[in-house]
């Protein structure tokens, strides 16, 4: 591994390298909007942006890169690779065995030190392994076989092979990527973004920051547990002591390991709300490095928006992409229940419908089946400030959220919210326990996947103008007090300033920590 030294403190591509997975600049809303806000809100700093994508494909960017983005490089987790003409398993390659051992250690609790060892094997000076060596060679075959035989010799080899390629192919892609030179590296999630930032920190000695909106590992865990394409080959019955690893375990352990690596590598670990820190601590983050940095919104822009009047048709809106994590189907079912009490109810789904076309088709089918064709409208992506004047209530039925900006934006416009108890929704709607003075609830918090309860709450707010107004005012006061954009930006300005001060020599404390 190349050690950072003062001779490398020379030309840089940018002050901060933002590393983001699977959203900015190709997906609208949510974290993408937050990144756009962060870039534009820090014009005094230059940024390199590294979006991590599944594969190269031509599609339009949904965000224009601001002028202070001086470097832009995409990292593809899946790249086509042509195997050599003479593809032979040959004799067992010792490097392949070492790689397999290190990857196995990773799945059994390994952290930054293990990742460093893997990076040293892959990028050994004068003996660097290429991406082809890692995925399409006798060496890679040695590694796959060795891991399979030591970890799960009873599993489907076909499934193991593809799982190995998916998980570690992405890891190898991060190890072979040309990292922009920056004063600090800021990952917007753990996972592969965290891996790349960790590698950057190891190689350059520069500070590494992490901001987690949702907990990436948790979201992957949900997906993996629900994945039907992962076969279970071990019947553990009710035993809790069966420590055999199956494919599903392998997937989850890999992402746990990536999170551990990132937490160990980071100087500062930020999250949007306190409750999230509990999960970060459980995944191995050091309490001393944790900070809360709440999101903020442009109070002026949203504060001037006017909400719907009492006499207007009672309308509830869900602002968000039509994807499973937003549980739009639950919203549709909730509208069905609300309609029983509010016959003239209108429901708008304000968000992109093209991200998961099959899910959108299922939502449309549900609308038809529940006879809600005249009630529910999918608007596609819109300027939400233009719709606030039509909305009496905002609903959020997500299965997982961090700090949903939509609640803050609606709150700024004094629109009360009905939200599921995920992420910081309760904190936003009902206030923190330390809120002083207590501003009162700004809406209703419900259980997840309980359309009857959600529908009931929506109906309650639509039918009672006074209650709605009171809740809306409370939410607005809370948003103005604690969730302003300027305040949030100032936090990041200070953070960046602290971490990008010129470092003439690498921090020996940091190097010692990484040697552990």
């Amino acid at each position: 591994m190349r050690a950072a030294d003062s001779s490398q403190v020379g030309e840089i591509d940018a002050d901060i390298c933002i590393i983001v997975e699977g959203c900015y600049p190709y997906i609208n809303g949510g974290v993408s909007s937050w990144i756009d806000w962060l870039l534009r809100g820090n014009p005094q700093s230059t940024f390199a942006v590294v979006p991590i994508l599944s594969q190269r494909e031509s599609r339009p960017m949904k965000y224009e890169l601001p002028a202070n983005v001086t470097c832009y490089r995409e990292l593809y987790l899946n790249r086509p690779v042509t195997p050599p003409l003479w593809l032979s398993r040959g004799k067992s390659d010792p490097k392949g065995i070492r790689l397999a051992e290190a990857l196995t250690e990773l799945l059994h609790g390994g952290g930054l030190a293990t990742f460093r060892r893997i990076a040293e094997i892959v990028n050994e000076p004068n003996h660097e392994l290429t991406y082809r060596d890692l995925l399409a060679s006798g060496l890679s075959w040695t590694a796959v076989q060795a891991m399979y035989k030591s970890s799960m010799p009873q599993a489907s080899f076909l499934h193991f092979f593809w799982a190995w390629r998916s998980l570690f192919g992405g890891l190898f892609a991060t190890l072979k990527f040309s990292i922009p030179r920056a004063r600090a590296y800021h990952a917007i999630s753990t996972g592969y973004a965290g891996l790349l930032a960790s590698r950057a920190g190891l190689e350059t000695g520069r500070p590494v920051l992490l901001t987690e909106h949702g907990i990436y590992t948790n979201e992957r865990r949900i997906e993996i547990l629900m994945a039907e394409w992962i076969s279970d080959t071990i019947d553990k019955g009710l035993s809790l002591e069966d420590d055999r690893i199956d494919l599903r375990d392998m997937w989850m352990r890999a992402f746990d390991a990536y999170a551990r690596i990132c937490y160990e590598a980071c100087d500062t670990i930020l999250t949007l709300y306190e409750d999230n820190q509990r999960l970060q601590l459980a995944l191995g983050a050091d309490r001393g490095r944790l900070q809360v940095a709440a999101n903020g919104i442009d109070l002026e822009r949203f504060g001037n928006a006017v909400s719907a009047r009492p006499g207007d048709p009672p309308t509830v809106g869900l602002i968000g992409r039509v994807v499973p994590i937003k549980d739009v189907k639950c919203f549709i079912q909730a509208v069905y229940f609300a309609r029983q009490k509010v016959p003239d109810i209108r429901a708008l789904v304000l968000g992109a419908t093209d991200e998961d076309k099959s899910y959108f088709a299922e939502c449309q089918t549900l609308v038809r089946d529940l006879d809600l064709d005249d009630v529910v409208t999918f608007t596609g992506p819109v300027k939400i400030t233009e719709y606030f004047s039509k909305l009496h209530v905002i609903a959020l039925t997500s299965l997982s959220e961090a700090q949903p900006l939509v609640l803050l934006e609606a709150g700024a416009a004094a629109i009360p919210c009905v939200a599921t108890d995920v992420g910081s929704c309760r904190e936003i709607v009902e206030g923190r326990s330390s809120e002083d003075p207590a501003l009162g609830p700004g809406g209703r918090v419900t259980e997840l996947v309980n359309p009857k309860q959600i529908g009931s709450a929506i109906a309650e707010l639509l039918l009672d103008d006074k209650l709605r107004e009171t809740l809306g005012q409370a939410l607005q006061s809370r948003v103005r007090a604690y969730y302003g954009s300027e305040q949030a930006l100032e936090n990041y300005r200070a953070l960046y300033a602290r971490h990008t001060r010129a470092v003439p020599q690498p921090n020996p404390d940091r190097r010692e920590r990484w040697r552990a």
Binding site: R79, S88, Q154, L158, S231
Partner: protein, 465 residues
Amino acid sequence: MAGITIPARDLDRTRDGASPIVSMAHAAIVAAGPWLYTVLAILLVGGIAEPLAGENAVTAFRVQVMYSFCLSLIGSAPFIIVAVRGFSDDLFSRRADHVPSIYLGASAAACVCTTVIAASALLLLIGADLYVVASGTVSAGVLSLCWVGVAFTGVLRDHRQLTIAFSAGLIVGALLAIGAARAALGPCGMVVGFALGFFLIFAWATARILATFTTSDPARGGPVLVLFRLLRQHRHLAIAGFMAAAGIWADKWVLWGGSYAQVTVTGLPYVPQYEAAMFAAALTLLPSLALMVASLETNFFEAYRYYLGAIEGHATLQRLEQLASSLEKRTIRAVGNILSVQGAICATVVVIAPAIIERAGMNFAHLTTLRAVVIAGLCQVCFVACSSIVLFFDRAGFYAALQTVFVVLVSVCTWLATFAGERFLGAGYLTAALVSAALALVAVACTFRDANIIVFIASANRQQA
């Protein structure tokens, strides 16, 4: 081809004692039917036309047909092998909208390439007159179209239609050739007439294919673009196809340019005794070809499918290693059986070679040549069997390398053999076949050893690409 032979093998398993013979005959016809009919047709034309046009003209006709076959096979082989691959892939994916474009693209490319090669070879290499060049180019171009049609009909396993088409085409071709002889149009006219019969075969096959695959997706591009994409994707296969075809004829081209060649009345060189010996040797390969179709292709294909099925059925690695080993043993046993049969045939022919020479009216000076090329046939069977297995594992690059080595070896060794005297003309081919067979054996051994890595890694990367 393998699928059609499964019925043959099933036939073999009935209790009727004659069934094995019937199944072998069926396999022999499937493997070599069109070629047998063609040889019979040429013999028929020769027999009837000789009193009309004279012995020299008939000889010139036969030689020019051989040139047309040679040039058309070389010119069309790369496009046929790539097009058939694309065709098979589409059938496997249950996509039929690509097939007409592939077929028409391959036909056009084969015809254009063949006419260029034929015109260049006849004009520049041979220095033939324009009448010969024109008739040779036309006939080679027509034949190249026919080979495309035959290949696609073979993939469709429409052997009955193919047999009918060949019968009809050859009858028409023979009649036209004889008619040309009667009309004193000379060997060139006879060749063109004969080739027109093959055009009928092409037309028959085209009608069959386009009637089966009626739609074409314009979004996927026209025939030229479709074929170009396939060539780019399977460039190793294209090279392999070219080299495989060239390998069949390389020794003849070396000898045609040498001092042992005679010249027909139309100016085309040929080496009659060597070609007669090669023809006799080719006939001895018929049983092995039939065995390869009835046994190796079928048994190997079944075992290979079982192995692939185990992968898709989520077998463990240990189980896959066992199956790969079993596949290897089964294949080696099948190849061994074929080589045993071919070896026995070769030994018999080597012993009775003097009688064959006497009956065929050949020169006894070519006894050594006949024996050498018959023994070379044994090596050739080994080479074909082993290189086919390599291709089954989709190692197109390996396959192309083997074919290229064979072409180079047979050219160089044949050239060197000419210095040893006319008796030793077959030694070059024998040496090349021996070395190539050894290399193919090594290649197939490495392929079985690396079966799992080839199937998993190479396939995975191909999919992702």
